[in-house]
């Protein structure tokens, strides 16, 4: 009985002593514990593309061995305990419980994203069909109204509330709705088809949920299958008129040159930014990382903190 009591006391003492022992110096010999999102995450895709490691966006076997998979909130809470961890979250989640790192010397703030100096971000783009290429004039007018809605303060608020960063806007929907009389008529039964990137699905659905009630209650059909389908299903002659064709497509990257052939400049544009921030524990002396540093950390070339800090 006494022996058992003694062992319990010892274990308790060991655990509690670790709690009260405050580390004043950062131990650089420790291994870097790498935190990441899982392969279906759009944030992971954006992060890996931004650091030049795009192959690892959907491929776990390219990452360093022993990484930890967590969701957005999980990475935040892990950085509050794990002194030797590094992870990434979207800019809208950053708070003062962790330390956000500057990327290539630029601090991760909203202003720096909007003036395009902060590099670790990706654009949310939209693309629509050519004028006259819609199933009806009502659908075309509604799509034009939607595109105008994307540039209003109402839309920017919705975008900001859903984790992305809206572009600066000056007018509200009420200021411009008179330019789009189609929104004042009853549009029940009219179907407008949305598709493209699945990373944007949440933002797109929030936007249409708000817009349909302002535009005569048309039906917004969402079928998000990937950024590649934004061009294919609205503009590619081989696909746009099949059953999977769409009226509005979204992409979480800039459109490639091949995707701009035959497309009017008024047929595509940007609706938001999605900024990603690398974060560490507050005790970590690191303040700035380059894309190359992050790539080396995530593929395992840098194994301990001394590799990076010296």
């Amino acid at each position: 009985m006494k022996k058992l009591f003694g062992i319990i006391l010892l274990t308790l003492a060991l655990t509690l002593s670790a709690c009260t022992n405050a580390e004043d110096t950062f131990d650089e010999t420790k291994n870097i514990t790498v935190y990441t999102r899982d392969t279906t995450s759009g944030t992971r895709a954006g992060f890996m593309e931004g650091i030049g490691f795009a192959d690892a966006a959907t491929n776990d076997s390219l990452l360093v061995e022993g990484f930890v998979i967590k969701d957005n909130t999980g990475i935040m809470t892990s950085m509050t305990t794990d002194q030797f961890g590094i992870g990434y979250v979207s800019l809208s989640s950053v708070n003062d419980t962790i330390k956000p790192l500057s990327f290539e010397g630029v601090e991760p703030t909203l202003a720096h994203v909007i003036n395009d100096t902060y590099g670790l971000k990706r654009p949310f783009m939209w693309m629509v069909r050519d004028a006259g290429d819609y199933s009806s004039e009502t659908v075309e007018a509604l799509v034009n109204a939607f595109v105008a809605f994307l540039g209003t303060t109402d839309a920017q608020d919705i975008i900001n509330n859903n984790g992305a960063i809206g572009l600066p806007a000056t007018q509200s929907w009420d200021d411009i709705k008179d330019d789009h009389p189609v929104t004042q008529q009853d549009n029940t039964g009219v179907v407008v088809r949305f598709g493209g990137s699945d990373s944007i699905q949440k933002v797109a659905e929030a936007l249409t949920n708000s817009f349909t009630s302002k535009a005569g209650n048309f039906t917004a059909e969402h079928d998000h299958t990937g950024s590649g389908d934004a061009y294919k299903r609205t503009q590619d002659p081989a696909i746009k008129d099949t059953s999977v064709g769409k009226d509005v497509g979204f992409a979480s990257r800039y459109f490639k040159d091949a995707e701009k052939i035959g497309v009017e400049t008024s047929d595509f544009g940007q609706l938001a930014w999605d900024a990603i921030v690398a974060i560490v524990h507050k005790d970590n002396p690191l303040n700035n990382v380059t894309a190359d540093d992050l790539k080396k950390i995530y593929e395992g070339t840098f194994a301990t903190w001394s590799d990076l800090l010296d």
């Binding site: 670790a18 709690c19 279906t40 192959d55 076997s61 998979i69 809470t77 305990t81």
Partner: protein, 318 residues
């Protein structure tokens, strides 16, 4: 001669008709509820077998033996590869379930013994209510508790013994969370088993001069072993089937057989859960296959444990 219905026979006929109607209603409800198990099992079987027998939209079928013995969840790019395997996950799942039982079984049974035999009646009633409350707490709450407190504990503990753990996400954290979840199950069932031990056995032992403690450990627990074993079976069943709570503390290991307590891990349930909401095609269907493997593991564990239970034997209980 006219056929005259005597009132007694008429009542008898009415009762027979009522009985038959009720029987049909009860039968249809039974068929409805029992059909669910066939519908669920059937769906999972059909969806789970398709990755092995179809071409999966051009990715090729998944090979069965490498699936069961391999050591990497997915070799290659997501949605472009069919090289799935869960061998290392099966090993971790069994290890975690067994170790969590090793932690929760002694604590649960000794708590049950205290509540059933040693505690004064009022205290026993309070404790029984507390244990029942613990058993009804949803697993997500245990998961949040684990992510908040147990991760910190394991991180500090491993720092104290000089081993760098990954923020506390480890097999040890999963074992601790599962142990906390299964203790109420084990305690309440063991307590019922202990209370139903024949009083004569106990009194006989005391009359022969044994102390109370000797009686409790050598007679009462021994007599209740059948019920206590049942509680262990149910406890390990809960541990094998827990997804949400474990996924918040396990760390999501994607490759490599690992028996390191302080390294990240994955269980069959967490690998099914993680990423499920945003995935399509083979990546989605393969989770049903993992589900089939999980069901087989649970059935096999139950069969083995029931076999051991029968071997361990049964003492006549009231």
């Amino acid at each position: 001669m006219q056929h005259v219905e005597i009132p007694v026979i008429k009542q008898h006929k009415e009762k027979r008709i009522k009985d038959r109607v009720v029987k049909i209603i009860l039968l249809s409800f039974t068929l409805l509820s029992s059909s669910f198990i066939f519908i669920v099992a059937g769906t999972i079987l059909v969806k789970g077998v398709t990755p092995f027998i179809t071409n999966n939209n051009g990715l090729g079928s998944v090979s069965f033996i490498p699936f069961l013995t391999g050591d990497t969840w997915l070799i290659g790019e997501s949605f472009h590869s069919n090289l799935y395997s869960i061998g290392f996950i099966i090993a971790s799942t069994l290890m975690i379930a067994l170790l969590s039982l090793v932690v929760s079984f002694p604590i649960g049974v000794l708590t049950a013994l205290f509540i059933a035999k040693v505690a004064p009646k009022k205290l026993a009633n309070i404790l029984r209510t507390v244990i029942e409350l613990l058993a009804s707490i949803p697993s997500i709450i245990y998961g949040l508790f684990g992510a908040g407190i147990i991760l910190n504990l394991v991180y500090n503990f491993s720092a104290a013994i000089g081993y760098q753990s990954k923020g506390g996400n480890s097999m040890l954290a999963s074992i601790l969370v599962l142990a906390i979840m299964t203790i109420p199950t084990i305690t309440s069932i063991s307590e019922v088993a202990i209370r139903s031990v024949d009083k004569n056995l106990e009194e006989g032992s005391l009359a022969l001069g044994a102390s109370k403690t000797q009686t409790h450990f050598k007679v009462v627990l021994f007599a209740a072993k059948s019920g206590i074993f049942t509680s262990a079976i149910l406890g390990i069943g809960r541990a094998l089937g827990e997804a949400t709570a474990v996924s918040l503390v396990a760390g999501g290991r994607r490759s490599g057989y690992s028996f390191d307590l302080l390294d990240t891990t994955s269980t069959l349930t967490t690998i099914m859960l993680e990423g499920m909401k945003e995935t399509i095609g083979l990546d989605y269907d393969i989770r049903f296959s993992v589900g089939i493997v999980l069901i087989v593991v649970i059935i096999l564990t139950n069969i083995i444990l029931n076999f051991v239970k029968r071997k361990v034997g049964n003492v006549n209980v009231k």
